[in-house]
Symmetry: C2
Subunit: 472 residues, 2 copies
């Protein structure tokens, strides 16, 4: 007999699930440590076997949880792991999204503990990928496991889609989602990736910036030359690169690429007032980041710069001799990596073309330029305010924290947002239990261990509440 | 009985020495290969044992040549190797200078043959340090050896001083020379370091640029941050670094540091005409270097920019993620290494202070700056036109090539020039048989093997002619 949990799950089910999760708290952490020990660095080809190992580990954990279909979906890059439980006809179907790949750990010398030996210090677990996105992802599987053990069913239908290329721009997920669109049908996406405002204050992310990425190389002489013999007579690619990069921004902090801000709407005075009312101070922000002062586009607050204004950022810049001691070289090349964060109204492809044109237009004499696209592109995203998934998130967070969540933007980008909306027509609700200050993409990434249990509780309530709301 | 070779060396001595050197040509190359196999990279601490090994090898070769005093002189850094033969009372004494240390070989992936496995390709020997300065240095010892075998004496008194820190700015040689000033008394310095204009055209270097060096670091947040979450709200050190570096030069190619050109004299119209008459073309220079076009200070020719105008060059620039793939990081630091080439009238210490002040004055908001001196400093140098050592060099080169040498400048710097002049009161005559295009300080450094025998012949004639001239 099939239970219909959308209507028939016993009233004590949620309490039973919560009790089991509390009882298994230590096991949950042990599992996370095991998962985060796998160096699934998607950007580095030497780690390809580790990425596959992480996918296999995750598929095994989903099978152990009792999911009825667990599959590894190959792509032209790293595979995605898919699983489903569809035993609640009539109840909503949520597509749970997350990613099991992680950022490169470099610079290694800045880590206080080995990045792939997850280490507990106080109430924090340190390790590459623990916050982005292994803990937030894993806890959703642990909640499904607890429901299936205690009730043999979930309150709603759930499909899990965990990709292995988020940190390299989800290059092949678009194709995969299009190919598997039938299997991925759902009411909306519930994302385990994202990150909350702070550990103490509940928040609901209602927008995310998009992204466009490119790399470029400036070339002078065909080979490295002696800077004494040749210096002054040929353009040093490092000087030309500096001039080129300096020309990407104005003294007012605005991006100087012509057309870059085309289509970018100003926020309304009311929206700006709301944002200014959030519990945020530049002083606390500087204390947290260690930066000497805020800096950015003139006329906007720090939060506006982070959430609602587009950016052009260098992620890497290099050329010449960078080792110990001195080497009097006039190098043949200089390199830069760039990503832009985009807001509604900006098209990643157009922005990339504008930057490319600007770089060529402002290229100094005596050097040549090569610009390469990285394929890392996504439009900005906004969640409709009255979305059912957003309403449930507000309700659950209000129950847990005793106050309604802040409605916040996300400075970062999740390229799959556009994929889910464009290909499947699905909105995405962010429900991640990582926190924005957990040094993701940086040395000494950590996850606050108490948030593992909090996240489990929240996800257990979320599915429960969604089923109840959908029943009416 | 002591022979006085200044007056008593037999008339056939030079011919006998030349014949012996021709007979030993293959041995001379084999010795060079052995010497250049030792990775005596003075800038890299892991190579310290190799630097010592090279010093030991060189001392051994000097003893084998029959030099009467061979000593290794310790310094606070790498040691110098000293040897002397003083059996020609009344004849001039020359202090032969060279260096047995070499530049770092990086970037290793750009070498076509292993840098420390010297490899003959056609008439070239490839390997780090073969041109700068191991072949030019070694051949002076081989010439002394040939004189001592054939005649049991040299035509003049010779002191050899070979240092191990030239590639790191000869940091401790000043102290050493001051301490050993008595032992180092001589009429002038004859330098085996330097490099000639071209393989076909004889040249005499009559000036060298000085050098000043510094490094600086721009710091923003205390740790690397996620460029999506934080980008736009804090100053990216890579942007600030680019602006800072771009501000070091004007659009006219001139160094923009206030006061930088103070004391720099313009060359006379006659000097400029002479220089313009040298056999040099920008087209050939671009073909040789592979650069797309000349570039530099407006109003000056390429040779003027290389020899007679001061420069400020970045040798290295780096920060953020420089590895494979993409990493969306807002890095906490950016770094730069700088060397200036100086001309007469500029004081290295003052130039360094001016740059430091300019960097602080132009530092963008939102970042901090740390400037470090590297200690790599030397004034520019000029050889008096009527110097006896220069006259002998002109005569020997004219004999060998059938025409008088070009009088050329040197874009590079030899810090010991100032040491020899300031501490010992000695001028320096450059008499090196390396050539400026031999990719010194770059991958695939090479030495033209026929120049080993040419250089030996030239040095044998030089000592012989000097003795004759001194006799009157």
């Amino acid at each position: 007999m099939t239970v219909n949990p959308g209507t028939l799950l016993p009233g004590t089910a949620l309490a039973d699930v919560q009790a089991l999760l509390r009882q298994r708290a230590a096991d949950s952490v042990a599992e996370l440590v095991e998962f985060a020990s796998i160096p699934s660095v998607s950007a580095q080809s030497r780690h390809q076997p580790d990425v596959l190992r992480a996918a296999g580990w995750l598929a095994g954990r989903l099978r152990q949880a009792g999911l009825t279909m667990v599959e590894t979906w190959p792509t032209a890059g790293h595979p995605a792991v898919y699983a489903e439980w569809l035993g609640a006809p009539g109840a909503p179907t949520v597509l749970v999204y997350g990613h099991y790949d992680v950022q490169p750990p470099e610079p290694l010398e800045r880590w206080h503990t080995p990045p792939f030996t997850p280490t507990v210090v106080g109430d924090r677990l340190y390790g590459r990928g623990v916050s982005d996105d292994k803990a937030p992802l894993l806890l959703t599987v642990q909640v499904a496991d607890a429901y299936l053990i205690t009730c043999g069913a979930l309150p709603v239908n759930v499909k899990f889609l965990f990709e292995g290329e988020e940190e390299v721009g989800s290059a092949h997920l678009g194709t995969l989602v299009a190919e598997r669109a039938g299997r991925l049908k759902a009411d909306f996406v519930l994302s385990a990736d994202g990150g909350m405002w702070s550990a103490e204050t509940p928040s609901l992310t209602v927008s995310a910036r998009g992204i466009a990425a490119l790399e470029f190389t400036v070339r002078g002489p065909a080979k490295d030359l002696h800077s004494g013999r040749h210096g002054g007579a040929l353009h040093n690619p490092l000087h030309a690169m500096a001039a080129l990069v300096a020309g990407l921004h104005g003294a007012d902090g605005r991006v100087a690429v012509p057309g870059f801000y085309d289509g970018v709407a100003e926020r309304t005075p009311e929206q700006r007032r709301e944002l200014a009312g959030l519990p945020f101070s530049d002083e606390a922000y500087l204390a947290q980041t260690g930066a000497p002062s805020p800096y950015g586009e003139a006329g906007y607050s720090t939060l506006e710069r982070q959430w609602h204004r587009p950016t052009l950022e260098l992620n890497g810049l290099w050329g010449g001799y960078t080792g110990e001691g001195s080497k009097t070289v006039l190098p043949s090349e200089a390199h830069a990596k760039v990503t832009c964060r985009l807001v509604p109204g900006q098209d990643p492809e157009r922005v990339t073309r504008l930057i490319e044109a600007h770089l060529h237009a402002t290229l100094p004499a005596g050097v040549t330029l090569e610009v390469r696209r990285s394929g890392h592109q996504a439009r900005a995203y906004g969640l409709p305010p009255d979305h059912l998934g957003a309403q449930v998130a507000r309700e659950v967070l209000a129950e847990l924290y005793g106050r309604p969540p802040l409605e916040v933007g996300m400075g970062g980008s999740i390229p799959v947002l556009e994929t889910f909306l464009g290909t499947l027509g699905l909105d995405t609700v962010f429900f991640s239990f990582s926190v924005g200050d957990e040094d993701i993409h940086a040395p000494n990434e950590f996850f606050r261990l108490p948030r593992l249990a909090q996240g489990q509780d929240a996800w257990a309530r979320y599915w429960w509440t969604l089923a109840a709301r959908a029943r009416g």
